[in-house]
Point group: C2
């Protein structure tokens, strides 16, 4: 490529250090604590059919995550929106997975004082990410409950979105090796908490249950709770013992990476009649319908 | 700079993707799970006066950490030694902090299966890092015991060296804000475990105590245990309640970033007579003497 050729954003676009670059060229300095100490906060918002879904909620949570970890993105939610929008536009995407993040940066050489570091903001947009493929979404996911315990809130605040995922990844290996599609982690008391990139819901006797503590407060989770409210389906936000999940009438995951994802097998045992349940399917349909509600939509500036 | 100018390795040298680059140019792709999921293992070995100290022990632990996280550095300990040695040589360092690491890489787009990722090895050498500055080493460190709990072994295996440090960093903020120099984290039972980059020892009634579970099995910790053995000082590897630490006769930290580091204040309370203790000083001296023992030394190939 000559110096005048334009960058190829077709696989995604990122913003770093004041510039937009192709996603394949985006990087983090090896010595940034964001890498060397996983000292970072992030958030993911999706674009569907040309519009951000619940952008305000994601920006708000991102700013809150940053404050909890004493990280400063150095720009306003409005400025972040403009960067995200431009990433999506450059990548030419109508549907996208859009991430904003801030890393600690690094203290001056010789110092180990995080207060002296200049925090670094980055963002990127890539094609929409599904945490389950089409076949899995049709038949329902097969999930394994792992013995690996999710990092507890006493160690890392799960409500501040972070990259501490070794527990998730080790659990995922275990689940994939066992022939399942994905994994749910537990807490020390044997309650199911969350999985890599998603919350979980169980339907029992006409009531939905979703875990209370030790989880990311997902925006999709919140959306599901609100939709259930419009259906008159009560939602209990409380501890969810693994046994209650295994004997539920319906089970589904909630994630920005696909919305409402039916689960039809838990630890090899069939859930309900083995097909995505009626309540799950209704929530799923409404989840996607809500993407066209003006109150939840912010158009990308193409 | 023209195309023929040589790279400036004076601040440190790194190896990535088959090339040696100045440390300031070393990076991790934004989409590598090593960053986005802190999915990585690493180790740090030091060079003192032209020789690696206990290189075999560090290489062995690194390979073990990789296996535990199902990461493959893709090269033998001998090949890694050659890369590390070349990094130190290029950086022109007689004393150095040398890190080897492997990241997950990333699965093909659309997949979330870590088994499909091609793992990536990197290494770098920078000037020797002291986790305490000279004044702190002379007067002894002031340490705060934080209420932040170290990520428990049921979530992330602490014996496989990893970058999950949000708990350490949040504890460090708390300690620095309180006027202390650094922090020690606890476990759920109120035992002291470890701090950012170091293990801890307490001397009580002529016996040393160092925590058993929930800690990195430090090579410096092992060295201290071995040195204590030659002194006839017994070492108990067991749970160390925070109160036992606060009422100890002597306290010190062990780390590749400075060896034996005296602690003279815990939670604002003076340890012993407020000066680095006699046993601590003797261990410290022998720690540095051992750097000249041929059995622990591997010369850098300058």
């Amino acid at each position: 490529m000559g110096p005048m050729s334009s960058p190829d954003f077709s696989k995604g676009a990122a913003w770093q250090g004041g510039n937009f670059v192709p996603i394949g060229e985006a990087s983090v300095p090896l010595t940034d604590w964001g890498f060397l100490r996983s000292d970072a906060a992030y958030d993911v918002v999706t674009v569907w059919d040309g519009a951000f879904f619940r952008l305000d909620a994601h920006l708000e949570r991102f700013m809150r995550s940053c404050r909890k970890f004493r990280l400063d993105p150095g720009r306003s939610p409005q400025e972040i929106f403009e960067i995200l929008s431009q990433c999506v536009k450059l990548a030419g995407l109508r549907s996208a997975y859009v991430e904003m993040l801030v890393t600690r940066g690094q203290p001056p050489w010789g110092s180990r004082d995080p207060r002296l570091a200049v925090n670094q903001f980055r963002a990127f947009a890539v094609p929409y990410v599904w945490i389950a493929n089409e076949e899995q979404r049709q038949r329902g996911l097969h999930v394994k409950v792992s013995k690996v315990q999710r990092i507890p809130p006493a160690s890392v605040d799960p409500t501040a979105k972070n990259y501490h995922w070794n527990d998730m990844t080790m659990g995922l290996f275990e689940a994939l090796d066992a022939g399942a599609d994905t994994v749910l982690l537990s807490d020390a008391a044997g309650n199911v908490v969350e999985g890599p990139g998603f919350n979980v819901f169980a339907l029992r006797g006409g009531r939905l249950v979703t875990p209370l503590e030790g989880v990311l407060e997902g925006i999709t989770r919140r959306t599901v709770v609100e939709i259930a409210g419009t259906f008159g389906v009560p939602v209990d936000v409380r501890a969810l013992p693994a046994d209650e999940l295994r004997s539920a009438d319906e089970v589904f995951l909630s994630s920005s990476g696909g919305g409402v994802l039916p689960v039809t097998r838990v630890d090899g045992k069939t859930v309900g009649n083995g097909e995505p349940g009626a309540v799950t399917r209704r929530l799923l349909q409404t989840y996607w319908d809500w993407h066209y509600e003006p109150r939840y939509s912010v158009p990308v500036r193409y």
